[in-house]
Amino acid sequence: MNHWIIAPVILPALLAPFIVLAARYHLGIQRVFSIAGIVALIAIAGGLAWQVSDGSVISYRLGDWAGPFGIVIVGDRLSTLMVLLTSVLALFVLLYAIGSGWDDRGRHFHALFQFQLMGILGAFLTGDLFNLFVFFEVLLIASYGLMIHAGGNARLRAGVQYVLFNLIGSTLFLFALGAIYAETGTLNMADLSERVALIDPSETVGIRLAAVLLLLVFAIKAALVPLHFWLPSSYAEAPAPVAALFAIMTKVGAYSIIRVYTMVFPPEVDVTSGLHDTWLLPFALVSVVVGMVGVLAARKLDRLVAFSVVGSMGMVVTAIALFSPIGIAAALYYIVHSTLAAAVLFMVSDLVRTGRGNVDLTPQPPMAGTHLTAGMFFVGAIAMTGLPPLSGFLGKLLVLDAAYDNTLMTWVWAVVLISSLISIVGFARAGSVVFWISHSIEPSEPRSAEVRQPSALAYSAVGGLFALLVAHTVFAGSVHAYTTKMAAQLFAPQAYISAVLDSPGKLSEPKEEN
């Protein structure tokens, strides 16, 4: 059995208590261990992604109990790609947190960061719905701590909203799990996909209810309208590096939708037909509109970025909701892009805050480091709104292409294109107010002491993410070819199912009486 697949969960789980217990008062040591851990994670994730790139599926049985009775960790193309994306994003987020000094403004930043990674990576790797719940809770409880890192009244208030909304989401998740267990008698995803297909078409009330409840839970995580209300204020008030890391958390919801609704409740299964395959697409389109109109209406830069995250999640779910291999392939390409672009914009918004003390969209005298920050905002906005030449343009093109055969094609095209225009206007207005008009305003008073030039490390962390965005654009052909293979694997889950269920692990045999 290949033990490396459990390492992305074990490594942060061991590192976090070590940081709390042994390096509690030494920020330097915490930083070194945190960075070293994430570099090791990237190496492990890259190795795993390389190992499954031929289409094989790694199944890891904890305690060697045979599936579906034991707990399984499963790595296929999709989960290893998400693990790799998370660890690479985490490295740059951590560099930014160190460069901007955010990790010094409260205690236990690095330990919470590692626990957060453990939860996210575990959610991507688990092959069991109940463990998905457990890892959701791990990532949530760490995110509660990170969200209110460095304190402050506004942040605590936003934190209360965030915590309560997610607690209700967790309760809903448990209701969904109970309903699924009552109907099928299992929570292992591979086992579920076989048993759901066997359900009698005349008794589908319970399983349909469970499918909708589960979709609601994932829609809360993915901030789909009308369940997005927790996102704008909590992402805007969270510390910038934390908000940048949270860019991957909405993708956990998108990942779960892809995983569960292509394997357990695929659109061709009759018992759940007419639910998510019909209703997800309209709500995703409404999310795109709400997000992009929010971009236009925002009066602060951080809220503007938060609403653009809602819009880009709507775009991701639009592509997923087509439930076709080409749609999922486009969604996966766009997930990588929008994670990087959202992280870049949250960091740039924090650079503005560092340079002038606030992020209001009002004309003010030039900030410290205005040229570099303005350039970075410009590139980030191009990426997020989907203008050429960056990967946002290619991603939206793939989504439009995937929707070409759909019955709602006119709606998808109209909503995506018009909302892109609205978001371009929103970002252009914000950029000109914050960066251009400022040069015509004379500074009336000397700058306050809080305002300073952002550090070089902070800039280079953002620059590193830009390099990734450019690479995602330049190698778009090979990335899209890979996501297409990934989607093909998702729509032919036999390899996944047999890797989990036909495993030779131990079973508790009844002892022979002697």
């Binding site: 409880i141 209360v160 309560l164 607690l167 009552a182 009066r299 009002t362």
Partner: protein
Amino acid sequence: MEFLVASAIGLMTAAGIYLVLRLRTFPVILGISLLTYAVNVFLFTSGRLVIGAPPVLRDDVSNYADPLPQALVLTAIVISFGMTAVAVMIGLGAFLGSDDDHIDDQAEASSSAGQP
């Protein structure tokens, strides 16, 4: 017995949802606690209600209780207990900081003068 358990779950859920919609920290936390009680009983019954049957398979037993929901409920209880404690602490912090226990967004003053 099924009727009693089902109506108990329904009652707790209804009361929990009502309290969750109150938009002040204390009732909402109470409501979430009620909802977690309801979901714990719901999870417990998802393995069907059986009285006096052993949870472990043996050769001479044909009627047995499903042990898996009981394990799931234990995990759920521990997690919801911890989460409620965290919610109480953060809610308390927000209340002490701003002297106000509303959950919804209040009209916020900008950090600089001169709104557009």
